[in-house]
């Protein structure tokens, strides 16, 4: 997918907060929008039932009403972000909505994997750091992907875990499928000798 993925090494942005734990992928994009066969244009459905009534009118309680896509490209959310369904439509929707990174004290495994494959950066921080950000909305942050650091204005700089392979792919736009394809000989050899019965 990384042909579409822009090379990026630093994200400078203000934060936007959704102070809710266990935000599942059904919230990020409800199943009714999964009949698409495209991966583009899903931002309109992002957090759809949080933003809109059944008749399509906007909810006064819409927590994303004040989101400014021009300045707030970093989402800060509660713990266990992206739990539930494996739908990759969730990072596609978040990216199309205007987010480039999500900060949480914990990410669900499949969401994290899906996000990294699409250039949406999951930034895992200690609970204290997450709590600070959740208490201080619209904060200026600087995320350096190559150095795995998150700098928060007036608070400090923190390292976050990012495996070197993902960092390499993210910063250079290298594709994971290309990497596997480079090892085709080993795959063929495995299939020839070790393949379990099918």
């Amino acid at each position: 997918m990384s042909s579409r993925q822009q090379e990026q090494s630093v994200i400078e942005s203000r934060t936007f907060n959704l102070p809710v734990d266990n935000i599942d992928t059904d919230q990020i994009i409800p199943a009714q929008f999964l009949t698409t066969t495209e991966r583009h244009g899903l931002g309109q459905y992002c957090f759809h039932s949080w933003r809109f009534h059944g008749d399509g009118s906007e909810k006064t309680s819409n927590p994303l009403r004040r989101h400014d896509p021009a300045t707030q490209q970093v989402l800060v959310a509660g713990s266990n972000f992206g739990c539930g369904s494996s739908r990759e439509h969730a990072p596609w929707a978040l990216l199309d909505f205007g987010f480039r990174a999500v900060i949480s004290s914990r990410f669900a495994d499949i969401f994290r994997s899906n996000a990294l494959k699409n250039g949406l950066l999951p930034v895992t921080v200690d609970e204290a750091v997450a709590d600070f950000l959740l208490d201080h909305p619209d904060r200026a942050v600087r995320i350096d992907i190559a150095r795995h650091t998150l700098a928060i204005e007036g608070y400090g700089e923190f390292e976050f875990p990012l495996d070197s392979f993902s960092a390499y792919c993210l910063t250079r736009g290298i594709d994971q499928l290309d990497f596997i394809l480079q090892h085709e000989d080993e795959i063929a050899s495995y299939e020839g000798t070790d393949a379990p019965r099918s």
């Binding site: 997918m1 042909s3 809710v20 734990d21 266990n22 599942d24 059904d26 919230q27 409800p30 199943a31 009714q32 999964l34 009949t35 698409t36 066969t37 495209e38 991966r39 039932s49 059944g54 713990s79 266990n80 739990c83 539930g84 369904s85 494996s86 739908r87 990759e88 914990r106 669900a108 495994d109 499949i110 994997s113 899906n114 494959k117 699409n118 495996d163 070197s164 392979f165 390499y168 994971q176 499928l177 990497f179 596997i180 394809l181 090892h183 085709e184 080993e186 795959i187 495995y190 299939e191 070790d194 393949a195 379990p196 019965r197 099918s198």
Partner: protein
């Protein structure tokens, strides 16, 4: 002497094409990829864009289940999809599978069904395999001692093109469950209890192995129900070591080995069980004798109580928010709440044993006035078997709807949804806000609890019906 290996480690080691390094994840070989219409279109697109072929169509198995209607077709065969886009998605899977030589079990197949019901029924799911699908409930197949997990669409494309995945080795979580289950308590109650105990993120980063006397005593359907919901505590996968119960289930299935190959396979499968001195990164002990029929009261699968217990009186924001959405009060009972809809189905609980359990309660009884009951078998084969023993008649006579196989109201993307504000007692796996329709309140439960609630029209402890004739 080297440390013994867990079931997971044995399966992992058999499939490493290239070891993990400091800079790169392992390349893991995938024996079987299951495909369905929702999470595959963009993966096939990517292959086409790059000019790649499907490497091993013989290691793919496809079905249609999520976007498909569960109402019968018209006399002329017309199916009533929720939207034109849903039909287009199903049609596209037919096009993609035909173009790449992949076996697709569509409307005309006697095997079509929910992907996680169909695979085991056909014998495609076997011990020691690596199995993936663009669906988080792929962990179901771990009941056979396979390493099975859900992946995203980009990874579906990776497996289509290379039959491999990049993976970092997960941690292991052993869950030992000991003791006999009380009457009226099922595998669904066990897994809800486990998720309630360790939390919705208690398994994150881990592969679970379920073991202990309770697990050994379970049939394959029960083991599937339990492994199915491993993702609901955040685990990548759930596994049970294969044993005679597993082999007896698989013997004679269309895609299982036969003849001399069967004997060799069973000998090989027996060696997969965790060694006695194997260690897990973390171990959790569960006393099964204390488990009661369990239900969820909130908006994630970790918000669990015993059905005769009280809704927790918690002051935290998550609980307050969940109670407000569910229109429930902390400190009150959930049992007795009026029920609008009962859904018996999903990859968690739509197999023959689930349908038999629900039918046993409903036989000779009536669904409560004002309560709608949907029974959706997991596959065509399950439907045929259920109809052969008259279960459809029992459900219909009781006033329930007997539908065609599919995911249906588990996630409602085929239009099988409830109305805003409805309380649904559901045998599915997720009670997230809006999952079964906008504003719908979901209570996860076993088929027994669902059937008992259908009869009374209220959330009901199935033990009230135990041993009682209609």
């Amino acid at each position: 002497m080297s440390q013994g290996l867990t079931l997971f480690e044995k399966v992992w080691r058999r499939h490493v094409v290239r070891e993990e390094t400091a800079d790169t994840p392992a390349i893991l070989y995938i024996d079987l990829q299951l495909l369905h219409e929702v999470t595959s279109p963009q993966a096939f697109d990517e292959l086409q864009r790059r000019g790649l072929k499907v490497r091993r169509p013989d290691r793919c198995l496809a079905t249609i289940d999520h976007s498909t209607p569960t109402t019968p077709p018209d006399a002329d065969g017309t199916r009533h999809y929720a939207t034109a886009q849903a039909k287009a998605q199903v049609d596209l899977l037919h096009v993609n599978c035909a173009a790449h030589g992949i076996r697709l079990h569509g409307w005309d197949s006697p095997n079509r069904g929910i992907v996680h019901v169909m695979g085991p029924e056909m014998g495609a799911t076997q011990p020691g395999m690596t199995i993936v699908c663009g669906d988080s409930h792929t962990a179901t197949h771990g009941a056979f001692g396979a390493l099975a997990f859900g992946i995203g669409t980009t990874e579906v494309g990776h497996v289509l093109a290379t039959q491999c995945l990049l993976q970092s080795k997960p941690r292991t979580l052993g869950i030992r469950i000991e003791g006999e289950l009380a009457a009226g308590v099922t595998a669904k109650d066990v897994i809800l209890h486990v998720i309630g105990a360790i939390g919705v993120d208690g398994g994150t980063g881990s592969v679970i192995e379920y073991f202990g006397s309770t697990v050994r005593a379970m049939d394959m359907e029960s083991r599937m129900t339990m492994c199915n919901m491993s993702i609901e505590c955040g685990a990548r996968a759930g596994m049970v070591a294969p044993d005679q119960v597993t082999f007896d289930f698989l013997a004679g299935r269309p895609l299982a080995p036969a003849g001399a190959a069967w004997e060799r396979a069973v000998a090989d499968w027996r060696a997969l069980a965790s060694d006695p001195d194997a260690r897990y990164d973390r171990l959790v002990e569960i006393d099964a004798t204390r488990i009661r029929p369990s239900v969820t009261w909130g908006t994630n699968p970790g918000m669990v109580i015993a059905i005769d217990g009280l809704i927790p009186d918690r002051a935290d924001a998550a609980a307050r928010d969940a109670l407000e959405y569910m229109q429930l009060r902390g400190g009150a009972r959930l049992a007795g709440e009026p029920v609008n809809v009962v859904f018996i189905g999903s990859c968690t609980n739509s197999r023959l044993g689930d349908l038999r359990a629900a039918a046993a309660l409903l036989q000779g009884r009536r669904v409560a006035a004002g309560t709608r009951v949907l029974v959706v078998p997991g596959s065509e084969a399950t439907r045929q078997a259920a109809e052969a023993e008259g279960l459809d008649r029992i459900f219909r006579d009781a006033g329930a709807e007997w539908r065609e196989p599919g995911c249906s109201m588990c996630l409602g993307m085929n239009g099988d949804t409830a109305q805003p504000g409805d309380l649904v007692v559901s045998t599915s796996n997720r009670n997230f806000k809006g999952r079964q329709g906008r504003g719908v309140r979901t209570v996860l439960a076993s088929p027994l609890t669902a059937a008992a609630s259908a009869i009374t029209g209220r959330v009901t402890d199935p033990r009230e019906f135990l041993g009682k004739k209609a």
